[in-house]
């Protein structure tokens, strides 16, 4: 199999494994399996600080006083090569988490405006939004915030030109080709179409984030 990954540095203590330029589900699937493998392998290591996935890369923060980049690169390279040899596409079990959403009205203040500008009824927007299966590509931006792939292009909509000072926790929004949920109250420029009561992040749970990168999500209208 050809070398499909590329290892680079970001500063003096972060190593980046790139698995391609595009965002595609197959790459992302393999990436999450590699992350799990590395997490297990480095569980007891004293020099790995964080391992986490993005859309198409794996990020490893390390203690640069305990290991240098070149040695870590060799080690990761070796692990990845042996993994890729054994890897079967789609061997991963698909998990789906359902998120109940109250759409429109007070819970989705931008739905009527979107409906007008897109010339699609509110009902139809909700139906489209709640019918797709979304891939959780990564968690980032803020604790528990999912970057979802799979929005139907018909309901893609540009960000608000002026972000709101405060978006309530649980708000479900659309920005360009992305849809997502705000785990906490925060400023934000996404078009809010609904709200979930589900708690996306709880420090008393293990893991604290309800959603996990590499799994799937479905919005369920309530």
């Amino acid at each position: 199999m050809k070398n499909i990954f590329h290892i680079n540095f970001h500063g003096d203590s972060t190593l980046v494994v790139n698995l391609g330029e595009d965002i595609d589900i197959k790459t992302n699937q393999m990436l999450h399996e590699i992350v799990h493998l590395l997490e297990i392998d480095f569980k007891h290591s004293n020099y790995i600080e964080d391992i986490y996935p993005t859309f198409n890369s794996i990020i490893i923060d390390y203690d640069n006083l305990l290991i240098d980049f070149e040695n870590l690169k060799l080690l990761i390279n070796e692990k990845l090569l042996s993994f890729i040899k054994k890897y079967n596409v789609g061997s991963e079990e698909e998990r789906i988490i359902e998120v109940p959403v109250m759409y429109g009205g007070e819970n989705g203040p931008d739905l009527s405006m979107m409906s007008e500008k897109l010339n699609i009824s509110e009902e139809k927007i909700i139906e489209i939004h709640a019918s797709n299966l979304y891939r959780i590509f990564m968690i980032g931006f803020m604790p528990g915030f999912p970057y979802l792939g799979g929005l139907n292009t018909k309901i893609s909509f540009p960000r608000l030109s002026t972000p709101r000072i405060s978006v309530p926790a649980g708000s479900v929004g659309i920005a360009g080709m992305q849809t997502g949920i705000y785990p906490f109250e925060s400023p934000g420029g996404w078009n809010i179409i609904g709200k979930t009561e589900i708690k996306l992040f709880d420090i008393n749970l293990n893991p604290p984030a309800l959603l996990e990168a590499g799994t799937n999500l479905r919005f369920v209208r309530i």
């Binding site: 970001h10 500063g11 003096d12 890369s57 006083l65 968690i139 604790p143 925060s186």
Partner: protein, 346 residues
């Protein structure tokens, strides 16, 4: 127990940070000036990762228990009972009922307060560090009126640290080293960055610092996929004004990345005051690590002196004197004049 009278602009608990949580979207947090943080613990006789209070100053609290405390950070003076004043980077003994005041810093941004024996607080997701942008660690933020229990089984000795390491390495140097990202490194970028002087703007938080300079308009159209960032990442948004991310930054970011400020420079950077100037200078990864090791060695070798504190009553006035073991005097302070006479002890 200590009772917080005034928490100032922002005071919070910090340790060396939170690891293994980035996959949940939780960044590292942790003390911004790790060297001053460690020094505070050293002077209080604590483990190097014992949580400290990190404060932007204007902080005031009352102790209801005898305790040894230390304050580290930029050169300044803190006061006890509005009377006696002491140099930062030293520890002092407080009696039950004493009031401690930490001023707004004049030569940096952040002070670290450590109590000998440590604060009795609970970890959140494996760390004592407050994470500013989320509300998940609010219990680690300090507010006026808070009562915090402390473990009084600490040491009794008083120490003062020599300040030359901090003066040279952290507080009097406007050069900031940068490791460029390979894919965006070019002579053009390097020249635009290094021949420019940048001002630290007032958009400065635990999440990052926005710089102001001649705009570097090389990436006007950006359509980046959100990807890795870390403490020290230098982003260049379309407006051409760089942003340096700090410990509480989001875990992924979508702006173009120019490079990273290496770890050994982050203490210096976080103590740069608003409106001060910085100048970037390229460093290789290998050199940055040798420099980090060298700095760690220098830090480990900072001279720390044992001293005693005498309070004398002269003509009805109380005078506090800090005396080293070799009988030289560090400071004399007086409850009426607030003057400090310093003798060079280095």
């Amino acid at each position: 127990m200590i009772k917080i009278i005034n928490s100032g602009i922002l005071s919070s608990f910090q340790d060396k940070g939170r690891y293994g949580q980035k996959k949940f979207g939780v960044s590292r947090s942790g003390s911004l000036d790790t060297f001053s943080f460690e020094l505070a613990n050293k002077l209080a006789g604590n483990d190097s990762n014992e949580p400290c209070i990190e404060t932007l100053g204007g902080f005031s609290c009352i102790f209801n228990i005898d305790s040894v405390v230390s304050i580290a950070g930029p050169m300044d003076f803190f006061s006890v009972n509005n009377h006696f004043i002491y140099k930062t980077n030293s520890s002092i003994k407080l009696k039950s009922g004493d009031k401690l005041d930490i001023p707004y810093p004049k030569k940096g941004n952040l002070f670290y307060l450590s109590v000998s024996g440590g604060f009795m607080i609970d970890k959140i997701l494996g760390s004592f560090s407050y994470h500013q942008p989320s509300n998940i660690t609010n219990a680690l933020k300090i507010s006026s009126g808070d009562e915090i229990h402390i473990n009084s089984k600490g040491q009794n000795h008083l120490f003062v640290a020599e300040s030359s390491f901090f003066e040279n390495r952290i507080f009097n140097n406007k050069k900031i080293n940068i490791i460029y990202n390979e894919e965006n490194r070019s002579e053009k970028i390097k020249n635009l960055f290094e021949n420019n002087e940048f001002t630290i703007s007032d958009q400065f938080s635990r999440q990052g610092i926005r710089l102001i300079g001649d705009p570097i308009n090389v990436f006007k159209d950006q359509n980046e996929v959100s990807a890795e960032v870390s403490a020290g990442t230098v982003q260049l948004p379309p407006d051409g004004q760089p942003i340096i991310l700090l410990n509480d930054s989001q875990t992924t970011g979508g702006y173009k990345k120019i490079g990273v400020i290496p770890r050994f420079e982050l203490s210096k950077l976080s103590q740069k005051m608003i409106s001060s100037k910085i100048k970037f200078s390229e460093i290789s990864m290998n050199d940055s690590i040798s420099e980090f090791r060298k700095m760690r060695r220098e830090f480990e070798n900072i001279n720390i002196y044992n001293y005693i504190n005498r309070v004398l009553e002269i003509n009805g006035r109380l005078i506090s004197v800090q005396i080293l073991e070799n009988n030289s005097i560090i400071s004399i302070s007086d409850n009426e004049q607030f003057d400090v006479i310093e003798e060079n002890f280095e």
